[in-house]
């Protein structure tokens, strides 16, 4: 095999009461793409932070460039050629591309005046951008760039420090399909230039495409390593969760009833020249698939009254309903579980109790005074029925895990009477156990007669959980699939705006 670039031996990291890493050993060879996978909390991010010099391991040795180190500092890691492309991009939106690439290592001019030499920095960044095939210039403000383009800036930054290992943590979680393909091409190009990439992702398909070798972590330990020829979804999943994959789908208890929600000719501010027609029946889970930016979230925001409607009509059970504000929507029983629960779903610093009752408080207040006893009762009911793991309803929401936070958002709505519920990426950033609980809750709600729209970019979730799937493309619904038509292929065709092949569409 090729030269070993970097070797971690028996790395452990202990926090008070937690063993985040337990005797992990890892080797990175020159010019390889190493896939790193594992469940939530498996220790991937901790391991990468050790590599980046952000945290010191409690035990173990880092061997880099022939030196054995007990720990590294961030600048040592940088000097050793380790660069990060972060999950949440760490760029300064108010600065241009060149300034971001050279942030903290600005080229200076003017001698003692120490002025920033913009011209030189731009000149240096231009070839890097060309190499990555980016179609923006070094003086473009980062504010104007898409997420994929920002990633290119991060990679350019890595190249500018002559990185030998680039760590990518969930790089494709918000990319469109074509952007993902572009990134995978860039990775192949990096590899061809002898740069190693550590690729952390939950998207096993991408790992299959690009990784030469996969290391699987579970509970802070290395549980397996797969060579390129051993890679398969099933093998990776088995190592990650130690079990075989079973079907996600639970069929509805009874067939969906009419009288759900009909959206007719709806025009949103995101696509003022497109109309959306969509109907979801009572008792079904309608998956809403599409590429990022296809207008799914805009649709949910418009129906929930956050954004104004530019046209069209929303009907529930054939009666048109007006939604000028979230308040109106809530009155009609239309609820939204938003995409970003920390920003839009919860007031993190408030206790669970106050979050659960935030939307319904007025319903059981007397003379506008909060009825504390009823409030506590309702909060306790939700905590129990959703099995939210918390020592008390007075704990601040910020102390909960992602899954439990999402359940608090759900509890807020379930303490009232939902008729139509929109779930926008309901399981993003949530661990496996909580995920299946949320699927079960959605199914329960559907069985109680609620019409459910589940927006999801997770193909397995869309196909595995939905009763039907509607696919959006550039602001309009490009097709609706019945269960027998479900396939990744069909969803993708509709998502990129192509019609279904007739054979596929006609299949029973």
């Amino acid at each position: 095999m090729a030269e070993t670039l970097l070797e971690l031996t028996s790395i452990s990291k202990t926090y008070p009461g937690v063993r985040a890493l337990d005797d992990v050993s890892l080797r990175v060879y020159r010019g390889e793409v190493l896939g790193l996978i594992g469940e939530n909390g498996a220790g991937k991010s901790t391991l990468m932070r050790v590599l980046g010099g952000v945290i010191a391991p409690s035990e173990g040795v880092i061997r880099i460039g022939g030196n054995d180190l007990a720990r590294m500092t961030v600048s040592e890691a940088t000097r050793a050629g380790i660069a990060f492309v972060h999950q949440e991009l760490n760029l300064f939106e108010n600065l241009d591309v060149a300034a971001n690439v050279f942030i903290g290592r600005e080229k200076l001019t003017g001698g003692p005046l120490k002025l920033v030499d913009n011209a030189q920095m731009r000149a240096r960044v231009t070839p890097l951008l060309e190499r990555l095939g980016a179609d923006f210039t070094p003086n473009t403000p980062v504010d104007n760039l898409s997420i994929a383009e920002r990633q290119m800036v991060e990679i350019a930054k890595a190249l500018s420090i002559d990185a030998r290992v680039i760590i990518m943590d969930e790089p494709t979680s918000s990319l469109t399909i074509s952007e993902t393909e572009r990134l995978l091409e860039v990775i192949a190009d990096l590899k061809a230039h002898d740069i190693s990439v550590i690729y952390i992702s939950h998207r096993l398909g991408e790992i299959m495409t690009c990784a030469d070798r996969v290391v699987v972590l579970r509970d802070g330990r290395t549980v397996g390593e797969l060579a390129r020829h051993e890679l398969s979804h099933a093998a990776m999943i088995r190592l990650m969760i130690g079990r075989d994959l079973k079907a996600l789908y639970t069929p509805p208890k009874r067939s969906p009833q009419p009288g759900g929600c009909d959206i007719v000719g709806l025009v949103t501010i995101a696509y003022p020249d497109r109309q959306i027609d969509l109907s979801v029946r009572r008792g079904e889970i309608l998956g809403l698939a599409g590429l990022v930016g296809a207008g799914r979230t805009s649709l949910a925001r418009a129906v929930f009254g956050i954004d104004p409607l530019l046209g069209g009509e929303i009907r529930i059970g054939d009666a048109p309903v007006g939604v000028a504000s979230p308040r109106d929507a809530i009155r009609q029983g239309i609820y939204l579980v938003p995409e970003d629960r920390k920003k839009s779903g919860l007031v993190l610093e408030l206790p669970i109790r106050e979050n659960v009752t935030l939307a319904s408080l007025l319903n059981y207040a007397r003379m506008w005074l909060v009825n504390g006893a009823v409030e506590r009762k309702i909060a306790k009911e939700q905590v129990r029925s959703l099995s939210i793991k918390a020592p008390s309803i007075d704990m601040e929401a910020v102390t909960l895990s992602g899954g439990n936070q999402q359940k608090v958002v759900l509890g807020k709505w379930l303490s009232m009477q939902p008729r139509v519920m929109f779930f926008d990426e309901p399981t993003r950033g949530i661990d496996v156990g909580a995920k299946s609980e949320i699927y079960a809750l959605m199914r329960d709600l559907a069985d109680q007669g609620v019409a459910i729209v589940m927006i999801s970019s997770d193909m397995e979730e869309v196909i595995g959980v939905s009763d039907r799937v509607a696919v959006m493309h550039e602001g309009a619904v490009s097709g609706v699939l019945e269960r027998e038509q479900f396939s990744e292929y069909n969803v993708l065709r509709l998502a990129i705006g192509q019609a279904l092949e007739t054979v596929e569409a006609a299949a029973p």
Binding site: N40, L204, L245, K343, S344, K389
Partner: protein
């Protein structure tokens, strides 16, 4: 949550005891009642300022509002000889209206509170000076409003009415802020406006209402101050008073980031400020150091509070770490808690670790 207020009480007691020990005149009845009067005067509008600060905003216009409403009020009573209840009502409505305009600009036209109320500060002061041609307005020798004067500046059993007003208003606002749905919304909006909106709260109305309440309390304060000084000099009346209110609110535990603070805290903050002013006088500290003492105490107070909070958070974080320690058992618990009929094992997992 009450720890902050308890700490303030303690601080207040310690400072009073020390000052009293150095100069017993501090604890004399006359001095205490005088302080109570000032606490009442400065507390009423600090309550409004506190509500605004809890929304994450700020109201810089209060002092100028006093000047403008004050000259109008005196003019209504003296020049126009309007029956005092109507004059009182008009000044109150004036305060509510100014608050409403500011609230409208901030919520509907999305202007920054600092800018809107800073412009208010300049505009109202200018208007008051122009309206009076910069001359001081006062009451003549007639008793235009002797009843109102008695109500505003009198006392019941020695206790200044201003202090009694403050207690009554604090009780009302305390219920509003800590017991009512509106209060809950106010905190939610202050902490996370977007999540509040996603919960169906009309955040614009909630925020604008805070400015309107602040304006209304400024109207009441105007009347109390007018009868305290018996005249209004438009260029100096109420100067810097908004800063006293902000200082009291911050000292009382309000965060300028919004979502934090309590009515009791604001009242205690006001009391502490007045005690400090009094202490400067009574201990013979040069009066010119007045502001410097105030500034130092606020600085130290807020710093100490932050340090204490950080320590509490660290402790809480350690406690929760210890609780979640055995990760494997936690995972098992989670899985057994999920409904058994769901054999769902998604292959993609989110990651926050």
């Amino acid at each position: 949550m009450m720890k902050k207020e308890l700490g303030l009480c303690l601080l207040l007691a310690v400072i009073s005891a020390i000052t009293g020990a150095i100069n017993p005149a501090f604890l004399s009845l006359v001095n205490l009642l005088n302080m109570a009067n000032l606490i009442g005067l400065f507390g009423v509008f600090a309550l409004g300022e506190g509500l605004v600060i809890i929304t994450g905003g700020i109201d810089l216009s209060l002092g100028s509002m006093f000047a403008l409403l004050g000259v109008v009020f005196i003019d209504l009573l003296t020049t126009y000889q309007i029956y005092w209840p109507f004059a009182l009502l008009l000044v109150l409505l004036g305060g509510l209206a100014l608050g409403g305009i500011q609230g409208f600009l901030i919520t509907r036209l999305k202007m920054q509170p600092f800018i809107v109320t800073l412009c208010g500060l300049l505009i109202y002061r200018g208007a008051a000076r122009y309206y009076t041609s910069d001359s001081t307005r006062g009451f003549g020798y007639g008793d235009e409003a002797s009843t109102l004067s008695t109500i505003a500046s009198g006392n019941i059993g020695g206790i200044p009415n201003t202090f009694i007003f403050l207690i009554i208003l604090a009780l009302i606002l305390g219920v509003l802020l800590h017991r009512s749905v509106y209060g809950r919304w106010l905190y939610a909006v202050g902490k996370n406006e977007e999540a509040a909106r996603f919960s169906g709260i009309s955040t614009n109305i909630v925020i604008a209402t805070a400015y309107i309440i602040s304006g209304g309390l400024a109207g009441i304060s105007t009347v109390l101050f007018v009868f305290y000084t018996n005249s209004v000099s438009p260029s100096s009346f109420g100067n810097f008073y908004e800063l006293y209110a902000i200082a009291a609110a911050v000292l009382g535990g309000c965060s300028l980031r919004g979502g934090e603070g309590s009515i009791l805290g604001i009242v205690l903050g006001t009391a502490l400020l007045q005690v400090l002013q009094n202490l400067v006088n009574i201990l013979g500290i040069p009066n010119s150091l007045n502001f410097a003492v105030m500034g130092t105490v606020i600085l130290v107070g807020v710093l100490a509070d932050q340090q204490l909070q950080a320590r509490r958070r660290r402790k809480a974080a350690l406690a929760s770490l210890a609780r979640t320690a055995p990760r494997s058992t936690l995972v098992q618990a989670k899985q057994s808690a999920s409904p058994p009929r769901v054999a769902a094992l998604p292959t993609r997992t989110g990651d926050q670790a």
